[in-house]
């Protein structure tokens, strides 16, 4: 069994609490993450990603591999930032894995983030083990992206569960109106 090598991984960290920010930067570094770019809120994060898209040489990074963002921030919060990443034409990578940190763990909140295309939710208070598990989930269990008229994001079906009763899914890979893009 070998260990992950996070040395070439670029993480964008968005967190407004200075205490938690430096804590997360430290934790990620100790886990071996090569590059952590930390910004204070969603607005800064959008600005940073625009720079990555427009002047990667100057920023010194070609591509962000994982975004870890707090939810509750001002003036641009994590949800608005996620929406931008997934839907805006200026977004450099609409498929980038997005981990949302939050102490909002009410089911409707989690659902709201899921509908916006989040990959993982990291609940506060968190441990290093939690962070590690979410990273592994992002690496080992990536989901196909789904684009419909009202959703764009990772497939919301995480597991293959045999339906209890008839399968009501209308579309299969071979149906008309289904397009599969591989890359």
């Amino acid at each position: 069994m070998s260990d992950y090598d996070f040395d070439r991984v670029n993480v964008l960290l968005v967190e407004d609490s200075q205490f938690i920010r430096s804590l997360l930067v430290n934790s990620l570094k100790v886990l071996g993450v090569g590059n952590v770019y930390a910004v204070e809120h969603g607005g800064d994060a959008i600005h940073f990603l625009q720079r990555v898209k427009n002047e990667p040489m100057r920023v010194g990074v070609q591509q962000i591999d994982i975004i870890i963002s707090n939810w509750d921030m001002h003036p641009i919060d994590g949800m608005m930032f996620l929406r931008w990443v997934r839907r805006h034409k200026d977004s450099p990578d609409r498929f980038v894995p997005f981990m949302m940190i939050t102490s909002y763990t009410e089911p409707e909140r989690v659902l709201q983030a899921r509908e916006m295309g989040v990959n993982e939710m990291l609940a506060k208070p968190f441990t290093i083990k939690n962070i590690g598990e979410k990273l592994i989930s992002i690496i080992e269990r990536p989901r196909q992206f789904v684009h419909t008229k009202d959703y764009f994001g990772p497939d919301r079906r995480r597991q293959h569960v045999e339906p209890d009763g008839p399968d009501r899914r209308v579309l299969t890979d071979k149906s008309e109106g289904v397009e599969i893009i591989r890359g």
């Binding site: 991984v9 609490s17 938690i20 591999d65 208070p125 497939d155 579309l171 890359g183």
Partner: protein, 167 residues
Amino acid sequence: MAEKKPVIVRFYRFKNRLKEKTAGLAPGKVSISPEALEAAEKALQKMAEDYPDWVSGLIVKLQEQHGRCVDTPEKRRDCFEAIHHIAHDMKGQGGTFGYPLITSFADSLYGFTHIRDGISDHHVELIKAHVDAMRAIIRGRVSGDGGEIGKKLTESLNEAIEKYNKA
């Protein structure tokens, strides 16, 4: 030729670049080494030592907002909004650093400071009760569930909540 139906759904299936980047192409199970996890956990604990100082700063901010509620009742709406935010920040973190009571008190504070209308003197008093309880926790470095002291603090806070809710 039959007309092609418009696309209803697109599935994007990409090869796992991130896996290649972190695990290479070698087969076999990959993990985060227990040593790395432990080192990171230790780093977290080291930083956690600064947590009480950081929380003290937030408690001072809460006190200031409470003072404003008393001195300028017409600004209570804004103060409650500020308090609600500070409470949110606090409630997420106490447990991480060994102070679950801070989380639980902050959670309680968060729970009633969302109101913007009908803020009464009782609500303002209740803020003070919360601030006092949190201060006692940090001053006494009451970590974990706090044993007897923790129990007492929780009880007296609950009594205050009950009293002002009834009033």
